[in-house]
C-alpha cells in the first residue's frame, strides 16, 4: 500500500491508508525526504532529542524487565512511541503544561519530571504524583479521555487571564476518541478558542480493539473538522516530523494568525509494538506479523541514522550516551526502591486538613499495628 507525504511517495504499512496529508520528514532510513522541510532545531537540541529517545527506549525495556522481576507492578510499555512522546515535549516551552496518560513516561521525563518519580507509582507510591512546583505536568490520567476537558479548562483559564503565552499539550489515545469526554473537551476547545494542542497517539490498538473498530472515520485527525479546529496527521515514528507539527501547533495556540483558531488536534500515527500493559497478552487478539512492517520505521533507528548522516553523532558518542543512560536508569530504580511510606499516608492529603473521623481511623490502624505488628497486615487476603 503506497502512501504519499508532503514530499512525495513512501510506504507506510497497513492499516495506515493512503493519505496525502501525512506529515513526514525522515524516511525509514533516516534520510530527509525530498522537499521535506527539517524543523528549525540546533545540533545541540537534536542530540538532546536523540539522547532522550534513547533513554526512553532503555527505560521502557528495563521497566518491562523490572516488572517481570516483581520490582514494579503493572507497567504500560511505550515501545515505538518514545519518539513522538519526546518530540512533543521538546516542542514545549518550559512554562507550557503537559497532560499525560499512563503511557507517556517519556513525555513526562522530557518535560522535566525525574525518572525516580516515574518509577514510584509503579512501586505503589503516590510520591511520583507530587510533581515539583517548577515542572508543569499533571499527574498521569488513567480513566480514559478524562484529561481532555481538563486540559481545555486549563488553557481556557490561561486565556481568560491573558496568559496565552502558556500553551497546554494534552495526550490521549485512539481509544479515547470514543469517549464522551473527548467530544466535550474538543468542542469546548473550539467554542472558547483556547491555547491547547491535543495529541492523539494513535497506536492502532486500544488493548485488543483495533483502530478500525474504534471509529468509522477514515482518520482521527478529520474529527477536528467537526469542532471547527485544525486536524493534522503526522508520522508518529518520525521524531522530526512530530517536532515540526507540534511546534507549529503550539505557536498557533499562542499566536494564531488572522482567521486561525488556536487549538489543534494532532493525530500521531504510531504502533503499539508491545502489550497494552504487562498484564496483557496481545498474541490472543492480533497477528504478531503485523508489527514487522512498523518495526522498519522505528523512531530510535531513524533519528540515530539521521544524526549519523548529519555528522552529529559517531560511535564513540553513541556509546558514551548509552553508558550514561544505563547509569541514570539504574540509579533511578535503586532510589525508587528506597522509597518508604507510613500507612498514615492513607489519610493524608485527602483534604487540606485531616478530618476528625479520619484521624480516628488512622489512630485505630496504628493501635492495631502496635498490637499485632505490621506482618499481620500482609497476610494474603485470599
Amino acid at each position: 500500500m503506497n502512501m504519499k507525504n508532503e514530499a512525495g511517495s513512501t510506504d507506510l504499512p497497513a492499516p495506515v491508508r493512503e493519505d496525502s496529508d501525512l506529515v513526514q520528514v525522515l524516511d525509514a532510513e533516516g534520510n530527509v525526504l525530498p522537499q521535506a522541510s527539517v524543523p528549525d532545531i540546533s545540533d545541540r537540541q537534536l542530540l538532546e532529542m536523540y539522547e532522550t529517545i534513547k533513554l526512553a527506549r532503555h527505560f521502557d525495556q528495563r521497566a518491562i524487565s523490572f516488572q517481570r522481576q516483581g520490582r514494579l507492578a503493572t507497567y504500560a510499555p511505550m515501545t515505538g512511541q518514545e519518539g513522538s512522546q519526546v518530540a512533543t515535549s521538546l516542542a514545549l516551552a518550559e512554562q507550557d503544561w503537559l497532560f499525560p496518560t499512563y503511557r507517556e513516561h517519556a513525555a513526562k521525563y522530557a518535560h522535566g519530571m525525574d525518572l525516580v518519580s516515574l518509577f514510584e507509582p509503579l512501586r505503589g507510591y503516590r510520591d511520583g504524583y507530587a510533581i515539583p512546583d517548577d515542572v508543569n505536568v499533571m499527574p498521569e490520567y488513567i480513566p480514559i479521555a478524562t484529561q481532555v476537558p481538563q486540559a481545555m479548562g486549563m488553557a481556557w483559564g490561561h486565556k481568560l487571564q491573558g496568559k496565552t503565552e502558556t500553551a497546554v499539550l494534552c495526550h490521549l489515545g485512539d481509544g479515547a476518541t470514543s469517549e464522551g469526554d473527548f467530544h466535550e473537551g474538543l468542542n469546548f476547545a473550539g467554542v472558547f478558542d483556547v491555547p491547547a494542542v491535543f495529541v492523539c497517539n494513535n497506536n492502532q490498538w486500544a488493548i485488543s480493539v483495533p483502530r478500525e473498530r474504534q471509529t468509522a472515520s477514515e482518520t482521527i485527525a478529520e474529527k477536528a473538522q467537526a469542532y471547527g479546529i485544525d486536524g493534522v496527521r503526522v508520522d508518529g515514528l518520525d521524531p522530526l516530523a512530530v517536532y515540526k507539527v507540534a511546534s507549529e501547533a503550539l505557536a498557533k495556540a499562542r499566536n494564531p494568525g488572522p482567521g486561525e483558531r488556536r487549538p489543534t488536534l494532532i493525530e500521531s500515527v504510531q504502533y503499539r509494538f508491545g502489550a497494552h500493559t504487562t498484564a496483557d497478552d496481545p498474541s490472543v487478539y492480533r497477528d504478531e506479523s503485523e508489527e514487522e512492517a512498523w518495526r522498519d520505521r522505528d523512531p530510535v533507528d531513524r533519528i540515530e541514522k539521521y544524526l549519523y548522516n548529519e555528522g552529529i553523532l559517531d560511535s564513540d558518542l553513541e556509546s558514551e550516551i548509552q553508558d550514561s543512560i544505563e547509569q541514570e536508569v539504574s540509579e533511578a530504580i535503586e532510589t525508587a526502591e528506597q522509597t518508604e511510606v507510613s500507612p498514615d499516608n492513607i489519610v493524608e492529603h485527602v483534604y487540606e486538613d485531616v478530618p476528625a473521623r479520619l484521624e480516628e481511623q488512622r489512630d485505630e490502624l496504628n493501635r492495631l499495628r502496635e498490637k499485632y505488628d505490621d506482618g499481620a497486615f500482609s497476610e494474603v487476603l485470599e
Binding site: R126, V209, Y285, Q361, Y372, F377, E379, L381
Partner: protein, 338 residues
C-alpha cells in the same frame, strides 16, 4: 476446561474458579437463550481482560459477543436500547473504577425506565464489573463503590463470593426482569476452586447465605471479604472460644432483611465487614436496619470494619486499607468483650 469441552464430555460438574464459573454461567445462559448478548471493551477476541468471557466469541460469534468502542456511557446506553428490542444485554464494565461515565445512563435511565413508563418499558440487563482491591492493580482499578448503586432504587446489586454462587447468581440476574449490577470480587477470581454443575441452575437473588453458624456474634459481609471473615471466625473459635456466625449477603440490594435480623436476634452482636469506605457504606444501612428490627436483642455496639474514608491507596498500602483477618478478629473481640 472450557464449557464447550465439558459439554462435549458430558460431565455433571467441573472444578472451577470464580472467574471460570462466571464464564461458564455466561456460556450456559447464552446457550439457553439466544437473546442474551455480551458486549463491552475487549470482551470478544481477547476474552476479557480477566478472561471472564474467554471462548465466548469463538462459540457464539461477533453478533453475540461484541467488542465495542471504548465508551462506557455508550455501552450502557446502547444496552438499554438493545433491551427494548427483546434482547438481554450483559455489558461488561472493565473495572468498577471506570463505570462512572456510564453513571448517568445507569441511574437516570436503566434504574427508572420501568417506573417512568409505569411498567410499559423495562431494562432486563446485567452490568458485570470486577471490583475491589488486593491485586496490586494501578490506581482506579481497585474501587468498591457498591453503595452508589445500592442507593439507587430500581437497581439490584449482587456480589458472589464462591464459584457455585457466581454461576447461579449470574443466571438468576440474567433471568431477572430488572437491571442488575453484578459485582465480581476480582481478588478471589482465581483464589480457589469449587465443583460447579454444568447444567443451568439459579441461586436466588435476595437470599443471604449463612456461611458459618455461630451463637456469639453475627458478621455480615460479601464478596472478597467473606474469606477473611471466615478465617477470622475460625481463628477466634480456636484461640478464644468465640462462636462467630458469618453471613454472606450475596445480594446487596434488595437486602435479605429476614436472614440479617434472625441472625442478630440469635447472637445479639454484629460486625459488618466491607472494603468500601466506612462513611455512607452499606454497613451503615445494615446496622440501622438491625436496630430498627431487633434493637431489644442488642448486647453491644454494632461495629463496622471497613475501608478508610480516603481514596484507595496505591498498592504499597492497600494491605492496610483493606479489612484483613487481623482487623476483623480484633473488631469481633472488642464487640464480644463489650
Amino acid at each position: 476446561m472450557s464449557s464447550t469441552a465439558s459439554a462435549q464430555t458430558g460431565q455433571k460438574a467441573q472444578s472451577l474458579t470464580l472467574v471460570e464459573a462466571i464464564q461458564d454461567g455466561l456460556y450456559t445462559e447464552m446457550s439457553q437463550d439466544d437473546s442474551v448478548v455480551v458486549l463491552g471493551e475487549d470482551v470478544g477476541k481477547n476474552g476479557g481482560v480477566f478472561r471472564a468471557t474467554d471462548q465466548l466469541y469463538e462459540e457464539f460469534g461477533e453478533d453475540r459477543v461484541i467488542d465495542t468502542p471504548l465508551a462506557e456511557a455508550g455501552i450502557i446506553g446502547a444496552s438499554i436500547g438493545l433491551a427494548q428490542t427483546g434482547m438481554k444485554p450483559v455489558p461488561e464494565m472493565q473495572f468498577m473504577g471506570f463505570m462512572y461515565p456510564a453513571f448517568d445512563q445507569i441511574v437516570s435511565h436503566a434504574a427508572r425506565l420501568r417506573s417512568r413508563s409505569q411498567g410499559q418499558y423495562s431494562v432486563p440487563m446485567v452490568i458485570r464489573a470486577p471490583y475491589g482491591g488486593g491485586i496490586r492493580a494501578p490506581e482506579h482499578h481497585s474501587e468498591s463503590k457498591e453503595a452508589f448503586f445500592v442507593h439507587e432504587p430500581g437497581l439490584k446489586v449482587v456480589s458472589p463470593s464462591t464459584p457455585y454462587d457466581a454461576k447461579g447468581l449470574l443466571a438468576a440476574s440474567i433471568r431477572d426482569p430488572d437491571p442488575v449490577i453484578f459485582l465480581e470480587p476480582k481478588l478471589i477470581y482465581r483464589a480457589f476452586r469449587e465443583d460447579v454443575p454444568t447444567k443451568p441452575y439459579q441461586v436466588s437473588l435476595n437470599e443471604a447465605a449463612i456461611r458459618r453458624e455461630g451463637s456469639d456474634i453475627s458478621v455480615y459481609t460479601w464478596g472478597a471479604m467473606t474469606r477473611p471473615a471466615l478465617i477470622a471466625a475460625e481463628n477466634l473459635s480456636q484461640s478464644h472460644g468465640i462462636d462467630v456466625e458469618v453471613i454472606d449477603l450475596r445480594t446487596l440490594s434488595p437486602l435479605d432483611i429476614e436472614t440479617i435480623t434472625d441472625s442478630f436476634k440469635k447472637t445479639g452482636r454484629a460486625a459488618i465487614v466491607h472494603e468500601a469506605p466506612k462513611t455512607g457504606g452499606l454497613g451503615a444501612e445494615i446496622a440501622t436496619t438491625i436496630q430498627e428490627e431487633a434493637l431489644v436483642h442488642q448486647e453491644a455496639p454494632i461495629r463496622r470494619i471497613a475501608g478508610f474514608d480516603a481514596p484507595m491507596p496505591l498498592h504499597s498500602l492497600e494491605d492496610y486499607y483493606l479489612p484483613q483477618a487481623v482487623r476483623i478478629q480484633d473488631g469481633i473481640r472488642e464487640t464480644v468483650d463489650f
